[in-house]
Subunit: 215 residues, 2 copies
């Protein structure tokens, strides 16, 4: 049975999952990149972008694990791109170039229909206009027993949490304070939603926490 | 010149500085004690309460440091006790027994006047009804060049932060999610208030972060 999970999702110590004012220059919003500094030097990340060798250790272990056994992804539209409103054309193909790191079907939540988009390496972006339940149903079919990762952003994760669909989360708390941005926990009561923290590991660049829903 | 500082202030990963429903049985609110589990085993804490030996290391270093060079404290009323409204009598003398761990003047913010209260070991509780500026002025005089520690709770720290009076903070992030309680950061933009995180150290029980105001 597919698990629905959040993995390697970076959060600032004051609770933000992205900065303000996302744009082409700042895909993660202002100062949003600082949230992810724990993952950039890892072997997993360096390999993904065909760069150098990268570091091993706790941060790399969690980065690796975040891509294990995935059969489908679900992304909020802002995680796919900076465009708001109707798609003016099909030029925008995501932040990741011709060969995105997903290599499985990716379901993008949007209010505006668009034809599926097949990329190199097996990633296919499907645009879902009927809401999160529909995206989850399509992702389950596509995942074929493997896990479904809710990639983000913060608002998408909040919606799936509040609807009770998430089984497991790995959050990476980065030692930064953004002061403003997309808040992950405001109004989200994780214990009340059934989550227990089952593991905390201090990496070099982040505190990694695994939360699981009580069965 | 006295620094005004917050030290060893424990925060959950979802941003709470205390649980809900403070009472005689739960001075820190529901599940609030879990925030402080990093400090209980330390040598500093064990010594303070005349118990066993206690642990050394990062958590103990930060616990020790939080009591260094203090000339006065400021506490919100709820940190002094669970009583709300007018003082019915002088029976309540704080949570800490006859010999509280302060050993210097402590200024308690309240809307209800009360005579100063002298305890064993040099702690004197002064009750300040004229607001945070007045408390700070009195604390500066009492501290006589040493530092002033804003003890908490969350709402008192928020008031001092927003008024721009705090120079330095040591926050201890405990790997727990409370889900509800007294939120420390909601509406508080630390970078905008001039703070930069200058140090992050991973202890056994908490992630310790030092923030300093830019001069």
């Amino acid at each position: 049975m597919s698990k629905v999970k959040v993995a390697a999702f970076s959060v600032s110590l004051d609770g933000y999952g992205a900065g303000l004012d996302q744009s082409i220059e700042n895909p993660l919003g202002k100062r949003g990149e600082e949230l992810h500094e724990w993952i950039f030097p890892t072997k997993m990340f360096q390999k993904m972008y065909d760069k150098g060798e990268g570091t091993e250790g706790v941060d790399n272990d969690f980065a690796d694990r975040s891509f294990e056994n995935l059969g489908a992804w679900i992304l909020g539209r802002n995680m796919f791109g900076p465009i708001r409103g109707p798609w003016l054309n099909d030029e925008w193909k995501g932040w990741w170039g011709e060969n995105p790191p997903y290599h499985v079907p990716v379901f993008v939540l949007t209010h505006h229909a668009r034809e599926p988009l097949s990329m190199k390496g097996g990633t296919v972006f499907h645009f879902v206009t009927e809401g999160i339940e529909s995206a989850l149903e399509k992702a389950r079919t596509a995942a074929n027993g493997k896990d479904i990762r809710i990639g983000g952003g913060a608002s998408t994760i909040r919606q799936f949490l509040q609807a009770g669909y998430i089984d497991e989360m790995h959050l990476a708390f980065s030692p930064v304070f953004l002061g403003s941005g997309e808040h992950v926990f405001a109004g989200i009561d994780l214990p009340k939603l059934g989550f227990t923290e089952t593991q905390t590991v201090y990496g070099k660049g982040a505190t990694h926490v695994i939360l699981r829903k009580n069965q």
